[in-house]
């Protein structure tokens, strides 16, 4: 699970790669959706796929599924070509779309069974278990399901399969917190079975809880990829400190950002690499109390989603559940 920068230049998947995308390009008319995107998912890992709305996550997934034809670059999926070998490869994967639409005259249970059979069979016991776990009524039809319940239908259909690769495009965006917990539990089981998951999500707590590695994309390019620990080093820690004297000289430090001084109390963000130096400066003045908030994924996220970190108004102590 190391940050694998070198592999972005190689083409195709290596032996332990479930998904290998290098330099993927896709345009729709004049719109450039993907502009040299790289994505490498190792077999057996849960890989978070993050990016702002419209950054190209769903387009990437649709290329991986052979629904869209790549304009350039190299795409390998389960050691095959997703465009040419679509139907063969699809028997080995399961997909949950971000927008789930069901057929109005089919019940949820019928949809689950149909999709399972089209994929080549599913585990009946697991199907029943999942329906129970997600508290899904399989007898309702099409539109009578709420958004969350339509999503559950697609989730049960995908999770009840024995597919070796799960591609999930914002699968929990309509689920309540209880169902979110059920989802996380199921994904942990799936990983325990050695299956691979590509999870596109905006729910950062979910990504932090589940993902071994994440890739962050923006405007059709990969801007960051690695383990969460790797990425944390790239971001900032928030410090609030009550000092013995006036905080002279802090503002001149290059690694300190968004400094606010209120008498002898200071609030600032510091690059995690420079934490040591900043603390030394504080202790030199004398520290009465100190709160340090470690960088959250949300900050990482915001940093890549926007050009600058927003003003330190963002309350770090709050659970980073929701994206802005």
């Amino acid at each position: 699970m190391t940050y694998n920068a070198a592999s972005t230049t190689t083409s195709g998947t290596t032996a332990h790669e479930a998904i290998g995308v290098a330099g993927l390009r896709k345009t729709f008319g004049r719109t450039i959706a993907l502009d040299g995107l790289d994505l490498h998912v190792e077999t057996g890992e849960v890989h978070g796929f993050l990016g702002p709305n419209g950054s190209g996550k769903s387009t990437t997934i649709r290329v991986l599924l052979g629904l869209l034809r790549a304009d350039g670059g190299d795409v390998r999926l389960l050691d095959g070509d997703p465009w040419r070998q679509a139907a063969t490869l699809h028997r080995r994967l399961a997909y949950v779309p971000g927008d789930v639409n069901l057929w109005p005259n089919l019940s949820g249970g019928e949809v689950i069974d149909l999709l399972g059979r089209l994929r080549g069979g599913m585990d009946k016991r697991r199907r029943a278990e999942l329906i129970e776990r997600f508290e899904l009524d399989p007898t309702k039809k099409g539109r009578t399901y709420s958004k969350g319940n339509r999503q559950k239908v697609a989730l049960v259909a995908a999770l009840a399969s024995d597919a070796e690769l799960l591609i999930l495009d914002e699968p929990t965006s309509g689920l309540d917190p209880l169902m979110e917990a059920a989802f996380q539990e199921t994904i942990r089981e799936v990983r325990g079975e050695g299956r691979t998951v590509l999870l596109s999500s905006h729910i950062l707590a979910e990504v932090e809880a589940l993902c071994d590695r994440v890739s962050i994309i923006r405007a059709g390019r990969t801007v960051e990829t690695g383990t969460l620990d790797d990425l944390r080093h790239l971001t900032r820690t928030s410090i609030s400190a009550e000092l013995a004297g006036p905080p002279n000289g802090l503002a001149t430090l290059p690694h300190i950002h968004d400094l606010r001084v209120d008498g002898n109390t200071v609030h600032f963000d510091v690059d995690t690499d420079a934490l040591d130096e900043a603390l030394r400066r504080l202790t030199a003045i004398g520290v009465r109390s100190l709160t340090s908030t470690p960088p959250t994924l949300e900050e990482l996220f915001l940093r890549h989603y926007t050009d600058e970190l927003p003003d330190a108004e963002a309350d770090r102590t709050e659970n980073a559940r929701t994206a802005p």
Binding site: R62, R69, A87, S107, E110, D113, L118, R119
Partner: protein
Amino acid sequence: MTADVTHVPATHERPSATAGALAGTGQLIRLALRRDRIVLPVWALVIAFLAASGASAYEALYPDPAERAGLTASVAANPSFAIMFGPAYDLQTAGGFTAWRFGTIAALLTSLIAAFTVTRHTRQEEDTGRQELLSAAVVGRYAPLTAGVATAGLFSVVTGVLLTAMIAGVGADVTGSVAFGAAVALCGLVFTGVAAVTAQLAEYSRTANTLAGSTFGVLFLLRAAGDTSEAEWLSWLSPVGWVHRVRAFAENEWWVLALPAATTLVLCAVAYALLPKRDVGMSLIPGRPGRATATPGLRTSLALSWRLHRGALIGWIVGFAVMGMLFGTLASGVSDIVGDSAEMKQMLQQMGGARGIEDAFLSSITGMIAMIGSMYAVQATLRMRYEETALRVEPLLTTGVGRLRWLGGHLLFVLAGTAAVLTVCAALLGVGYGLSSGDVGGEWPRVFGATLAQLPAMWVVAGAAVLLFGLVPRATVAAWALAAAFVLISMFGPILDLPQAVLNVSPFTHVPQLPHAEFTATPLLWLTATAAALVAVGVTSLRRRDIG
């Protein structure tokens, strides 16, 4: 289209308690007119232009009274005209000719466009969830329905006014033009009311449109049956028949206009009464729970296609079975209504006697059956595009189902479904004609074969729709316009004296006029080959293009 929603400015004045139910109607009408600012004016102009071009062609085709008398006699002697175009009351003037020849088609187009407009601004808004967006703003309970009805009503009235102006403009009698324009506009208003009701009954916009369209179909058949049999009262039961019963340019029976006006009011009252009985997004008929698990049969994409197509297919088959039986029965008595003046008897003789008239009638019927039946082919093809835009193809194509297999499951219902609809109709047309003429064994194969000869032309329409779906998916809906163009060319091309090259564009032009004319296989083989080529290009394109 969603972007348009944001253009609705907020209503600033506080609505009073009584106006509350209609609050925001004005804004919604403006929104509807903004959305339809191109399509509705274009249709109104097309309808008016079509009729006006008929009126001006009349002067060129029948310049002197002798030719006009000849036309009057031949139309009176050939009931196959009455089935398509209704009764002719005055063929001595351009206006009377237009009212006869173009009355049904003008009423058909106006009615369907009006009905689809109501659905688009009511039920479809609920389907897409856009209604909730609007209802959360200051929009009264009855406002969307009122706005839909007002927009469609405005379209009908404008079409009637344009029709009047353009026909009078090419020299027809002004009073008659007003009567004709009013008759067409009022038919549009009746179907505005019909759609207002079906939007309450149906759960989905497609169903609402299908119900409204089928209502037109049934009322058209009622009129056709009334006008080609001795049961003329049937025609009086049909709003489609009223368009002709106004006798525009002949007696101008103004009081007949009260029938559609009253019908419209009653239908709108029913719709407004039904509306509060249901929730937004729901229908009056509550959905029943389905099966918790799928039947063993539901395991292929073909099985799913059957589930998706079976309702429409069964509906078409039943409708066409009734139509076949009805017209088969009517055909054998059709020479009776011609009349028995000496002049008519002579006309009859020229046309090959009673049998010649019946054959001409049958060949008109089979042509009409083919044109209407090809609408099934378009509808079934559009179903694929509908599945794609509703994002329901992706879950299937990301299982073991390949694109070809998915497409094949639907194409089966497009091509074989069209064949099934036509075959059932052909069989019953033969049975109806055979039974009433007393010779099932002799007549059935002849009539059955004559009807089936239309199949390749219908497949060409299907092929064109499949081609559009594969090659230019965003324009798939243009298949309707294409099918309508084929029908208009075949129905009105000859009377408008269009060049043969234009007539040849329509596949229906190439079908031998069986059983009236000699059978020739060549055109049928060419049509079949054309259909196959169109489907092949469509399929190949679909394999190469992006989905979604």
